[in-house]
């Protein structure tokens, strides 16, 4: 136990989130520790010893002898065991950071109990029991040089196969453009997430389009106003939902996506989802809400092919129990093109500068707890605040909608950004709060310093104390407010660390990459069939038809890869051109005239 605790302390300074997990994770007792003939500990699972029963160090030396790296390559070791082979790799390449990927946390726990961690840090970054898509999304894999620990592979063959598969999928996604249809919600906090997903996917080189259901929000809300009869209201709502399902299907039929991604509160009924399945593409849902507060997931989750969530544990269990397929934990993120540090004008500074800022809706716990800060220079922006209250008088925008650019200014301008996760019934901090809101990442990406209430999932995402500062009660909040208002340099450093972490690991691009890898690990072949289809890229199809070396083929080459292509595309391109018209351009213009008049 002494060794474990010593190792834990060392690990805490090196990988605090992992240390936290190792400490919290209950023991499963599947690993037995034996002593080899030369006196070294070796793990055994079932009848499989993960190292030589005689001389594990010699075995490791022999095993690693053929493993060579050049300057550009990064060593990645599949399987930890008790690390003898890892130490050999460290010996050979002492200046390199080495990734060790181990699927079983039990192995790692036993390792921590039996092996001195000191020789391994700081060279080793342990990736323990992490889903392959997450590993791929967080790491650049193009320079990986793999060392396979064969006994570990035997134990966790499926996992390592998936990891290789994930790498293959990731590489394929980087080199091919997917068509992704995003179904937006009518309204609410998840609508910006939908828009960010689209922007992120397009930035990544894919072709993402949205079904802008928010354009139908007025219709949706008017149903509630038109009748007080609940039966009638439900009937109208159901018909409206059916219409929206058809509307979305029409867009999908036209766009021919490789993936349909629905964002929380998108108006897709089970019937509509089943209809979309005729496309024979994955239909995914990103539930960016609190499952305990918003309950409609029970009706729709089983119909989706993939269900992404901000919460796991209990939520995952419940999802599986109702037949949901492939629940997968995927936290929120920021969009660097939107959430960034900006220069503020004098007017902006006048408007947005403050000691403490808060941007968000007037939920119960915020209304209750923010009164504790009335003695500070405190500004609030958001909606649904009671403007006549003490706290309400601090609301700068009088409950009016705020543009995203102004939100970014708020995050940039305040000395302390307050980030209290919402609750409809807690007086302050939710003691069992789990998921992390997008604001956490957005503030960090803007370089803002934030005080955020403790959340169980936060520890893995950002390092409290180093990259973000947390509070566990309103009293604690008040103390930290006072402290950091008087220690701005420290706050600034933490904000910088937080920004670095978030931009490296917690952008919407990271999330989308992880999502796509996860989905297409199961669907790569059908994706390849669709992408390789001659009807996929219409320009390529036309070139193929007329011949690549023909005059028309050569002319069409400039349009390859365009999202939309038609005769009009060419005509518009010609109109913007300069100089004499070529023969091909004249023929296109003539074709356009014929098409318009004759067909």
């Amino acid at each position: 136990m002494q060794l474990f605790n010593k190792n834990l302390d060392l690990l805490r300074s090196h990988q605090p989130a992992l240390a936290n997990r190792v400490e919290r994770e209950p023991r499963q007792n599947i690993v037995r520790t034996k002593i080899s003939k030369d006196g070294n500990p070796i793990p055994q699972i079932g009848s499989v010893s993960l190292h030589s029963n005689y001389n594990p160090t010699k075995e490791a030396e022999n095993g690693v002898s053929g493993y060579c790296l050049d300057n550009t390559q990064k060593p990645v070791i599949y399987g930890l065991g008790f690390g003898y082979h890892v130490l050999e790799v460290i010996k050979r390449y002492p200046s390199k950071e080495i990734l060790v990927i181990e699927p079983l946390i039990s192995i790692f726990q036993s390792f921590m109990e039996s092996v001195d961690l000191e020789p391994f840090v700081p060279n080793i970054k342990f990736i323990i029991s992490t889903p392959p898509p997450k590993i791929i999304a967080s790491n650049e894999t193009s320079n990986w040089k793999k060392f396979q620990h064969n006994p570990s592979k035997r134990i966790s063959d499926d996992y390592f196969n998936k990891l290789d598969n994930a790498i293959e999928v990731s590489n394929y996604l980087k080199n091919n453009k997917l068509r992704i249809l995003i179904v937006n919600p009518y309204y609410g906090g998840s609508l910006p997430t939908a828009n960010y997903c689209k922007q992120a996917l397009n930035t990544m080189g894919h072709h993402a389009e949205s079904v802008d259901c928010e354009n139908f929000a007025d219709g949706f809300f008017s149903i509630k106003k038109i009748t007080r009869n609940t039966t009638n209201e439900n009937l109208l709502a159901s018909q409206y939902a059916r219409f929206m399902g058809q509307y979305i299907a029409a867009k999908a039929a036209d766009f021919k996506p490789d993936l349909v991604l629905s964002i929380a509160q998108a108006p897709l009924t089970p019937e509509s989802i089943s209809n979309l399945k005729k496309l024979n593409v994955p239909i995914a849902f990103w539930f960016v809400e609190d499952f305990r507060t918003i309950k409609y997931w029970k009706d729709v989750a089983p119909f989706y092919d993939y269900f992404f969530t901000l919460q796991r544990g209990k939520f995952t269990e419940e999802l599986l129990s109702i037949g949901a397929k492939n629940p997968y934990y995927l936290p929120q993120g920021c969009l660097p093109s939107v959430h960034k540090e900006i220069n503020l004008s004098l007017d902006d500074l006048n408007q947005y500068s403050t000691d403490i800022s808060f941007m968000g809706a007037g939920y119960y716990n915020r209304v209750q707890s923010f009164t504790r800060l009335l003695n500070h220079n405190f500004k609030i922006w958001g909606t649904e605040w009671s403007l006549n209250s003490q706290v309400g008088s601090l609301v700068q925008n009088k409950n009016q909608r705020i543009d995203p650019i102004d939100i970014v200014k708020i995050y940039n301008a305040g000395k302390i950004n307050l980030n209290l996760h919402s609750s409809k019934f807690h007086e302050g901090v939710n003691p069992v709060g789990d998921f992390v809101n997008p604001r956490t990442f957005e503030i960090a990406a803007c370089g803002g310093f934030q005080l955020v209430d403790e959340r169980s999932e936060l520890v893995e995402l950002m390092e409290p104390g180093a990259e973000v500062v947390t509070f566990n009660s309103i009293d604690n909040l008040c103390e930290k407010v006072d402290y950091y208002l008087n220690n701005e340099n420290e706050a600034r450093l933490i904000a910088l660390n937080g920004k670095k972490r978030v931009l490296n690991e917690h952008t919407i691009q990271h999330r989308m990459h992880e999502m796509l890898v996860h989905i297409f690990m199961d669907n790569l072949n059908s994706l390849k069939d669709r992408i390789d289809s001659p009807y996929r890229d219409s320009v390529s199809f036309y070139i193929d038809k007329v011949g690549e070396s023909s005059k028309l083929g050569l002319y069409l080459d400039q349009f390859r890869g365009l999202k939309e292509f038609s005769v009009k595309t060419m005509v518009d391109c010609i109109a913007e051109g300069k100089g004499d018209l070529s023969d091909e351009e004249l023929l296109v213009l003539m074709t356009d005239q014929v098409v318009k008049s004759e067909v």
């Binding site: 219409s538 007329v546 005769v567 018209l581 213009l589 003539m590 074709t591 098409v595 004759e598 067909v599």
Partner: protein
């Protein structure tokens, strides 16, 4: 030396007939050249009747109609067809191209073929439409100034091809009609029957006289002249024919041949008719070409001055209401023009013509003030013109239309026509219109003359600016750059003012519009060349404005004098009753 001529005429049947003067003129100009005619596949058969053609090339884009587009490859099929079609034409190495199709498609084709010598509607290397020929430029402004246009489209196109229509009537090659007409021997006694054709349909529904009116007229013709009526038209017009027969009292005297004739048979039948009563259609132009007397019914957009049959001896009925003719592109939901022409009026005119062999104003029509009746005839200037048979009150539009006839003949560059004396205009107006309101009209003309003087001032300013620009561009002094920029801006302001005069005074708009059209056709970006072209435009504007002002003054003065003479004659003392005598 021109050896190989290509004519693009991918338009409708009537337009093909109307292009025969141009083709005849080209044949005269180039007697040894080979003439190739490109026609639409729809009129492939008909085009065999166009004289002076050595070779026909069929342009068949109709094949792409109704093709399924599920594979989305249709545009490639069209592209490849066009490429092959035009490559074949290129291979034939034409040295003169006449474009009688006024479409963008034909303009692009011309640009692709790269034939240097072209006449008609063209396109430059950048894809911009160009109309270099003055008559083509006039054609470009005509749709916006229809009420002042004195020219038949045949005349405009023929002159734009560099040919004089006065010497070249419309014509078609004739076939052995007897053989062709044998098919209908059972229905028609060609020797005894007075055959009258009715073309009741037309391409545009709004242009048609009602089946009821046709039926009433047919009955009258049968009753009064023992005529045999044949209903002509395409298959889609069968329902119109059926309605006529249903209403008529003499069904056995009406033969429905709609959809039953090919083009040869139609031509033969029309040539055998004594009269063709028709809406503004291609059949009407066939009748004009084969010498059949036409009674034309022009409604909606149809405008006799544009599309009257281009030969003499025909009459045209048109509503004389403020909205006639209506503009292309509008859809009327309260059509009243078609009801202004009554079958009894048409019958009266035909009866009179049948009896006397000439058109004249019968008493029944003399008080019609909501109908125009024109006769097509050749005037003193050998041009075909429309002679009103009802002497309506002279209007400002009438004065300007006649004035523009002379004006454009001078300025659009035709050396064939002598500059008629301005008194000739006076004579025509006095003969064809009731000019007693000339005093009122002359005041209106004076207002327009004032506007023309304003135009003259603006044109002078334009000349001055253009001269300054030329000087500065030639001298290339860098300090002039600011001045050049200033002048360019001033010219833009000036042109807007010129344009505004046209809007405020529609009677002057043709002059303003052609000024703008000339400027549109500037080519290249050499500033000196462009400035010189600008100078030329302003000078032309000045000259034309002055000419028109003088012409109008002369016309109104002559008319006032003539009217005064008539007045004095009317109140001569000899004619005054002396009390008690």
């Amino acid at each position: 030396m021109v050896k190989n001529i290509l004519i693009l005429n991918m338009t409708r049947m009537g337009d093909l007939v109307q292009s025969t003067p141009a083709i005849a003129g080209l044949r005269k100009e180039y007697p040894n050249a080979s003439i190739t005619l490109v026609v639409s596949s729809l009129f492939d058969e008909f085009s065999k009747k166009i004289p002076f053609i050595n070779k026909r090339v069929v342009f068949d884009i109709k094949q792409f109609e109704n093709r399924e587009v599920k594979n989305k490859i249709l545009w490639i099929d069209i592209y490849q067809y066009l490429e092959k079609f035009l490559s074949n034409l290129k291979f034939d190495d034409y040295d003169l191209l006449i474009n009688l199709s006024h479409s963008k498609l034909s303009a692009f084709m011309i640009s692709y073929l790269k034939i240097k010598n072209i006449r008609g509607f063209g396109c430059n290397e950048n894809g911009d439409r160009i109309m270099v020929n003055p008559w083509m430029q006039y054609f470009g402004i005509e749709p916006l100034n229809r009420q002042f246009n004195p020219f038949n489209l045949v005349e405009i196109f023929t002159r734009s091809a560099g040919v004089f229509p006065e010497d070249n009537p419309i014509q078609l090659l004739s076939d052995d009609n007897k053989l062709i007409l044998k098919k209908f021997e059972n229905d028609i006694n060609y020797d005894d029957d007075l055959l009258i054709g009715i073309q009741a349909g037309s391409s545009l529904e709004g242009r048609r006289w009602s089946p009821q009116n046709f039926a009433i007229l047919a009955d009258k013709l049968i009753e009064k002249l023992d005529a045999k009526i044949i209903l002509l038209g395409v298959d889609s017009e069968k329902n119109i024919a059926e309605q006529i027969i249903l209403i008529s009292k003499y069904k056995n005297k009406i033969i429905d041949l709609t959809g039953r004739t090919n083009i040869d048979q139609l031509t033969a039948l029309v040539s055998r008719c004594s009269y063709l009563i028709t809406n503004d259609t291609g059949t009407m132009h066939i009748a004009a070409a084969v010498g059949t007397t036409i009674v034309g019914l022009f409604f909606a957009h149809a405008h006799p001055f544009e599309t009257a049959p281009y030969s003499s001896g025909h009459i045209i009925f048109q509503a004389r209401i403020s909205c006639a003719p209506c503009s292309y592109g509008v859809t009327c939901d309260n059509v009243i023009c078609v009801n202004k022409v009554h079958p009894k009026h048409v019958m009266s005119m035909i009866l009179s013509h049948y009896k006397y062999g000439a058109w004249c104003a019968v008493p029944e029509i003399s008080n019609l003030n909501e109908v125009n009746i024109y006769e097509t005839c050749v005037g003193k200037d050998w041009r075909l013109r429309l002679r009103p048979l009802i002497k309506n009150s002279l209007t400002l539009n009438d004065i300007f239309r006649e004035a523009y006839l002379m004006h454009w003949m001078v300025f659009l560059g035709t050396t064939k026509i002598n500059k008629s004396s301005q008194s000739h205009v006076k004579d025509i107006l006095l003969k064809e219109y009731d000019c007693r309101n000339i005093l009122t009209l002359s005041k209106q003309v004076e207002v327009k003359a004032c506007a023309l003087r304003d135009l003259d001032n603006l044109a002078s300013r334009g000349i001055s600016y253009a001269n300054d620009l030329i000087d500065m561009c030639l001298n290339k002094i860098s300090t002039h750059i600011i001045r050049i920029k200033f002048l360019s801006e001033e010219i833009e302001v000036l042109d807007n003012k010129i344009s505004q005069i046209g809007f405020i005074h529609p009677e002057i708009k043709p002059v303003v519009d052609i000024f703008a059209k000339r400027k549109e056709n500037f080519q290249g970006d050499d500033p000196i060349k462009l400035s010189k072209e600008s100078l030329k435009c302003y000078r032309q504007l000045k000259e034309e404005g002055n000419y028109l002002e003088n012409l109008l003054a002369s016309i109104t003065s002559d008319l006032k004098i003539a009217n005064a003479d008539n007045f004095h004659a009317a109140v001569n003392s000899i004619n005054v009753e002396v009390p008690g005598r």
